[in-house]
Amino acid sequence: MENIAVADQVDQSSHPSSFLSKYVWSQDHKVIAIQYSITAILVGLIALILSGIMRLQLGFPNEFSFIDPSSYLQFVTMHGMIMVIYLLTALLLGGFGNYLIPLMIGARDMVFPYLNMLSYWTYLLSVLVLVSSFFVSGGPSGAGWTLYPPQAILSGTPGADAGILLMLISLAIFIVAFTMGGLNYVSTILQARAKGMTLMRMPLTIWGIFIATILGLLAFPALLVSAIMMIFDKVVGTSFFMPAILSLGETLDHSGGSPILFQHLFWFFGHPEVYIVALPAFGMVSDVIAVHARKNIFGYRMMVWAIVAIGGLSFVVWAHHMYVSGMNPYFGFFFATTTLIIAIPTALKVYNWLLTLWRGNIHLTVPMLFAIGFIFTFTHGGLTGLMLGNVVIDLPLSDTFFVVAHFHMVMGVSPVMVLFAAIYHWFPLLTGRFLNKALGKFHFWGTFLGTYAIYLPMHYLGFLGVPRRYFAMGETDFIPESAQTLNAGITVSAIIVGLVQLVFIVNLIWSTFKGKKSGRNPWQATSLEWQTAQFPPGHGNWGEHVPQVHRWAYDYSIPQVKDDFIPQNYSPAEVEYLSRDQNNSREER
């Protein structure tokens, strides 16, 4: 059998020469990663603007005539769906996964570059289909990001005609794109690692992306199945999810379908989705913390096991999103228990990040600030998750702003903090330049303090019983007027945080061309992506020979070694040691 080593195939994929083949129809994983990232960030900005509009309505009701109850629901829906799927999933896996997997495991590219390119263009198509729903009659779907039937496809719900169809079709296309990308990621990690790169020598970033991709491959089918069945209900008139129903005084032809079935399918995808976003973030933050604390990650094996355990457990907790839908009490008990069990590996990771920092040589660089910020926001969001995981606490708090605050802290703010940490950390690898430090610090403090100003008070609104997804509260007995003042305060904070992100965008553009030159391996990291022949890495990544790996990715501050880091591709013979005198003087210091 012919045995073509992927590692030796650099010359087979001819070097792209024209502008089109280099930057548009590119099969290079780095270009595809940047295409994914730019698209995701742009569509994310749309979702950010939508959230700003929602906040304007909540903070200052009846002040803005362009927001009516229908458009408010449409903004809620599109904001949620875009942020979770089209920004976070695409940026973490399509962007960072694509960029980092081949570089960190010592491969020349993904194993199927053409499929990889196809994955991006399919993703772009899904984004365009979704965004097109803003321009069709009736506008985009306003069913809430969970798209629960029957109301999602019944007249009376905003966007119940073309909007919901475009949403479902766009999701189906996205899943096809993700599957193409995902198959590439797992095959590359399993089959194209450099010599010496055993599974347990892989950086945690790769572990996070690897397990998250497997979760995605197994969980997205549930969304696909529910989307297809809902399209059938809407277009062909089947009754998979539609019960016998009277709508606007008219008896519809549906009968016997189960809306709860949709909820089960949706959350069988929806809960793993939380970890599809969280696990790559866990991995990347581990690496950022280790590099900038100049210390090996504490409990590497436990960190890997925790990622695997969280991935496995994420498939048996889905119904904790459905306590108020009604279920057998024993099921509630089961799902509450499994949900609380997830806290164990998750807490273990938090402790390990803290213990990595403990007595580390902490450099408060911008990536490190974001990483430490993440530990705060994630712990905060995780703790409220413990509350909501219990049936008795969830019931009164369900559908209030407490839930909104919880999930924004845990899967909105936290992964975004890691994304920022990662962008500041790996930006020199992309461009050979640093992002501006002063603007970065301003961006960090604005974002970190700003998000607390938004979400801490939101928990209190939830305790008061302020419901989510309401266009306006109207007059109620149980919500005091001060809640409105709080809402206005949250809106002001949200607008400020939104504006602070513009500083980041400006920084990104300015530093790409004018930023301070970083030189090779500016953070003195050990992992392979910083050890390429050409810097920033060129087509094929490794020049003539792919690297050989001799150690794990966390050899920092090893006693008696001259530098405080040993790159993964250094053989024992290449490591320089201090002489006894130098070592003594270093110890005295």
């Binding site: 059998m1 012919e2 045995n3 073509i4 080593a5 992927v6 590692a7 491969a107 194993v111 199927f112 599957t179 995902g182 198959l183 590439n184 797992v186 095959s187 590359t188 399993l190 089959q191 194209a192 690692r193 010599k195 010496g196 790169m197 055993t198 599974l199 347990m200 020598r201 497997i214 491959l217 197994l218 089918p221 549930a222 696909l224 199945v225 297809i228 069945m229 059938f232 062909v236 008139g237 089947t238 009754s239 998979f240 032809d253 009968s255 016997g256 379908g257 189960s258 079935l261 399918l265 069988f268 090996n296 590497y300 094996r301 890997v304 096991w305 001799h550 150690r551 794990w552 966390y554």
Partner: protein, 225 residues
């Protein structure tokens, strides 16, 4: 369990010689094989979820099974048996095509690939014929959940077959470019695995969708619906 052993390695300790010289010798065939395994897992999850929802629905009051009584379409499922035989033949001939490629026999490759294509197209045509017959006899997709599931599941299966055919055509096209029997054989091996898998899914769907009310009741009882 190699993976459990791998997860116990302590990478911060000096590695023994065996781990140090670890090499994957990666090649495209292995990578494609891994990707196919994951893809088959994805398809399995899709049909598994459809099946769960179907089994639950079989117990609803408005579910009318498609076989059991003389007037129901699949009480006599001869046309589905015929389609099954087409797919079995396609599955066998694709193995023969792979074997012919191993033996460097152009004639063998040509005949067996043509047979595979023919029987696969016959299967799809047969399925379309069943859909038309159902429609003509008033078993419309929206008329009953059993009909809805029949159209949905066989449609999804046919869609996967069509996707397979596209890959199959690509294999032939690539072979016509480089005439490498070795590469053709390695590609056909994966195609064959996909064909067998879809045959298995079809036989499962055949059994599932043509069950009578009593069979569904027993399955539902067993599954706890």
């Amino acid at each position: 369990m190699q993976i459990l052993k791998a997860l116990q390695i302590k990478p911060w300790l000096a590695q023994d010689q065996e781990t140090e010289s670890f090499s994957l010798v990666p090649n495209r065939e292995k990578a494609a094989s891994t990707a196919l395994k994951f893809f088959l897992a994805v398809i399995t999850v899709i049909f598994f979820l459809f099946t769960i929802t179907f089994l639950q629905r079989t117990q609803s009051y408005d579910f009318q099974a498609l076989s059991g009584e003389p007037w129901l379409p699949f009480t006599n499922a001869s046309i589905l048996w015929q389609n099954s035989i087409y797919l079995i033949m396609a599955s066998i001939s694709i193995i023969l095509a792979k074997k012919s490629a191993d033996l460097l026999s152009f004639k063998g490759v040509f005949i067996s690939l043509t047979t595979t294509a023919l029987f696969t197209v016959l299967f799809i045509g047969g399925q379309v014929q069943v859909w038309q017959q159902l429609n003509q006899s008033g078993f419309y997709i929206y008329a009953n959940p059993a009909n809805s599931y029949y159209f949905l599941l066989t449609g999804m299966h046919a869609l996967h077959i069509v996707a397979g055919v596209l890959v199959f055509i690509r294999c032939i096209w690539l072979f016509s470019l480089d005439l490498s029997y070795q590469r053709l054989a390695s590609r056909l091996k994966l195609c064959a695995r996909y064909w067998h898998f879809l045959l298995f899914i079809w036989l499962f769907l055949f059994f599932l969708l043509t069950g009578d009310a009593q069979t569904f009741k027993t399955i539902a009882l067993f599954c706890g619906f």
